[in-house]
């Protein structure tokens, strides 16, 4: 087993990796920016190194600083987490060139799969079905328009270097293609340092089904069954499940085998995920993510496998400890992403200080968070505060457990998407498994703000009692203020806020 690892990330995933390493007796080194001095991922590491200011490009994305921190602390391996440098082939290469172990696939694999157009070519060659569209990046908005008219509308513009919905635009009208191309390219350049954009036919109501893979470099490639990630907004996953409630055993086997075929086609080593869109009985390859996914805990719950443990074992030169037939699939798991966003206000990013944090407990509940009381939630990084995951013997009980756990979760001081999550878990189409990537746009009623009657009455009573208590505790003020000040924002005209091009994915 490797003796030490530097975790080149922050937030919940850095903590997840540090936990996994500590459990194997691996010495852990955290890196942190000035904004993260007080973060849980720092305090739970064995050693921690400040690598720069809050701006990611000068800290978490600075390959030189990360490698220097590894050198200073004597770390022998680097785990990239997800996001930041995780799918940067040049980073994987630099780590290996520095004589360290990269906990992930080879730079060449990352490069091939990171270039989405190259990935589409390779998969098509390996006999994995892909969505119709271009296999090369486009040169301009007008070229994008041409391709769109060939493939047929709607289309989706995607960053070749992309992921997580960034640099992605759905377009339904030909005259909007050029503007959307510019916006996508701009976003892609800002997010990935690469403005290449390609085009695919946009499937209206597909389900997003992905397969967890593992390869070990000894010729063993296994899958750990599928995840259903159809509940998305703006192409960002919100709720994930394992297994998919859609698939029968035959389809499960089929999609698993297709994923293994895809992995073998690129000699895959380590943890990876093949994403598929499923519509009208057909699977289409969407992309391959050459890293641990945000939603990996649902797979861990239904298989009992610790994916980070396997990552470290494979990175240490061990073989995968199970054969395909030995990998369990037991019960049902659900994950809800809890983000600092105002769901009833166009998913506006929210900021604040975490004043109170109550984490759900009890059976079948897991919390993977990256915050603590006092954490400042700013705008520098991803809005993911934590992930709540539940497991039970079947989907219905897992959902009931999630509802119970969400009711226990309190993150005071910053708006989160939890109220929306609670509504989804009560909605009949979701409960029946009638979901697709269009689910949220097809259920606008979920976004109607407002409290129900009982909550409204409780809010009125709580406010009166709080103020009453405060007045009883504080002596009456000598000088009375005149009037009452509203915040600027409340007093102003509420602008209508919407994303530039709000697709229905």
């Amino acid at each position: 087993m490797i003796e030490s690892v530097l975790v080149a990330n922050r937030g919940e995933i850095a903590l997840r990796v540090i936990r996994g390493a500590r459990e194997l007796g691996i010495r852990t080194v955290a890196v942190f920016s000035e904004a993260d001095r007080d973060s849980p991922h720092v305090v739970h590491a064995d050693e921690a190194v400040l690598i720069g200011p809050a701006t990611a490009s000068r800290s978490y994305l600075d390959i030189g600083k990360v490698l220097r921190a590894a050198h200073t602390t004597g770390a022998v391996a680097v785990h990239p987490g997800y996001g930041f440098l995780a799918e940067r082939a040049d980073f994987a290469g630099a780590v290996v060139d520095a004589g360290l172990v990269f906990v992930g696939p080879a730079a060449e694999t990352i490069r091939a799969m990171g270039d989405k157009t190259e990935a589409r070519r390779r998969m098509a060659d390996a006999g994995v079905p892909v969505v119709p569209g271009t296999t090369t990046p486009l040169g301009s908005g007008s070229e994008a328009r041409e391709v769109a008219s060939e493939v047929g509308l709607p289309v989706v513009l995607k960053a070749a270097a992309g992921g997580g919905g960034k640099g992605m635009r759905v377009v339904r009208r030909l005259d909007e293609v050029a503007a959307a191309f510019d916006a996508a390219a701009r976003e892609a350049r800002a997010a990935f340092g690469d403005g290449s954009v390609y085009v695919e036919r946009f499937l209206e109501c597909p389900r997003h089904i992905e397969v967890q893979l593992f390869g070990d470099g000894f010729g063993n490639v296994v899958h750990l069954h599928e995840r259903e990630c159809s509940i998305q907004r703006r192409h960002q996953k919100l709720i994930e499940e394992a297994p998919s409630s859609l698939l029968g055993p035959e389809e499960r086997r089929e999609v698993g085998e297709a994923a293994v075929r895809a992995a073998r086609a690129v000699n895959y080593v380590g943890a990876g995920t093949v994403e598929f869109l499923y519509q009208d009985g057909e699977f289409f390859f969407l992309e391959m993510n050459t890293r641990l996914q945000v939603e990996h805990p649902v797979t861990e719950f239904v298989t009992g496998v610790d994916l980070v443990e396997w990552q470290f074992r494979v990175a240490s030169g061990e073989a995968i400890p199970m054969r395909q037939s030995e990998i369990p699939l037991s019960g049902h798991a659900i994950e809800c992403r809890v983000t600092s966003e105002s769901p009833f206000d166009g998913f506006l990013p929210a900021t604040g200080t975490v004043r109170h944090l109550a984490i759900p407990g009890g059976p079948g509940v897991r919390w993977d968070g990256g915050i603590g009381v006092g954490s400042e939630i700013g705008l520098h990084y991803d809005p993911l505060l934590g992930k709540l995951i539940t497991w039970a013997s079947d989907r219905e009980l897992a959902i009931m457990r999630m509802k119970r756990a969400l009711a226990e979760l309190t993150i005071a001081g910053v708006s989160t998407c939890a109220p929306l999550l609670r509504r989804i878990l009560d909605e009949s189409d979701f409960l029946a498994g009638r979901i697709s990537t269009a689910y949220l746009t097809e259920h606008p009623e979920l976004f109607d703000a407002g409290l129900d009657d009982a909550s409204h009455t409780a809010a009125v009573a709580a406010a009166a009692l709080l103020e009453h208590e405060r007045r009883a505790a504080v002596p009456a003020p000598r000088i009375r203020r005149r009037g009452v000040r509203f915040s600027e924002w409340r007093a102003g005209t509420a602008p209508w806020v919407a994303p530039v091009a709000d697709g229905n994915g």
């Binding site: 103020e467 208590e469 102003g492 806020v497």
Partner: protein
Amino acid sequence: MDRTGSRYVVSVAGETHDVVVGVDGKVVIDGDAHEASLSGSGLARLRTLLLDGKPWAVCAEIRSRGFWEFELDGDRVSAEVLDARAARVRSLSAGAGSERGVAALKAPMPGLVVQVAVETGEIVEPGAAVVIVEAMKMENELRATAAGRVGRILVAPGEAVEKGQTLVEFGEVERK
């Protein structure tokens, strides 16, 4: 505070209620009596409101005198509480001094201005894009809520803005 309790005017979600907090654990809301108690003490921690036997988790923060923000069983609530006298003063002055004919587009969140899509003097339609602000690596298009003529433009691309900061002012707005 008299024997019959303290009287407040409470506003939540745009609705205003007459509330009497009694000395006996009773709270009367718009004439309906409820049994109510709030456990313990202290802001910034979870407390229990027991209302007619039903418990609610409350984590409260005071914004300014009488302005409360709290998590109530996971919902985020803003509330204003005035005593009866202050409420009367407020009702007498309502309407006075309010701005007319001028609207402003304010930043709903902190971020970076990516693009200003209008020019001074231009007439915009409802829903027209006015400013694009990037926050958390996503672009957010701020659109006009009504037709109007663009007045002063107070920001430029590349500029960082605070939440609530005025970005663009609109002149006399003609509503049809």
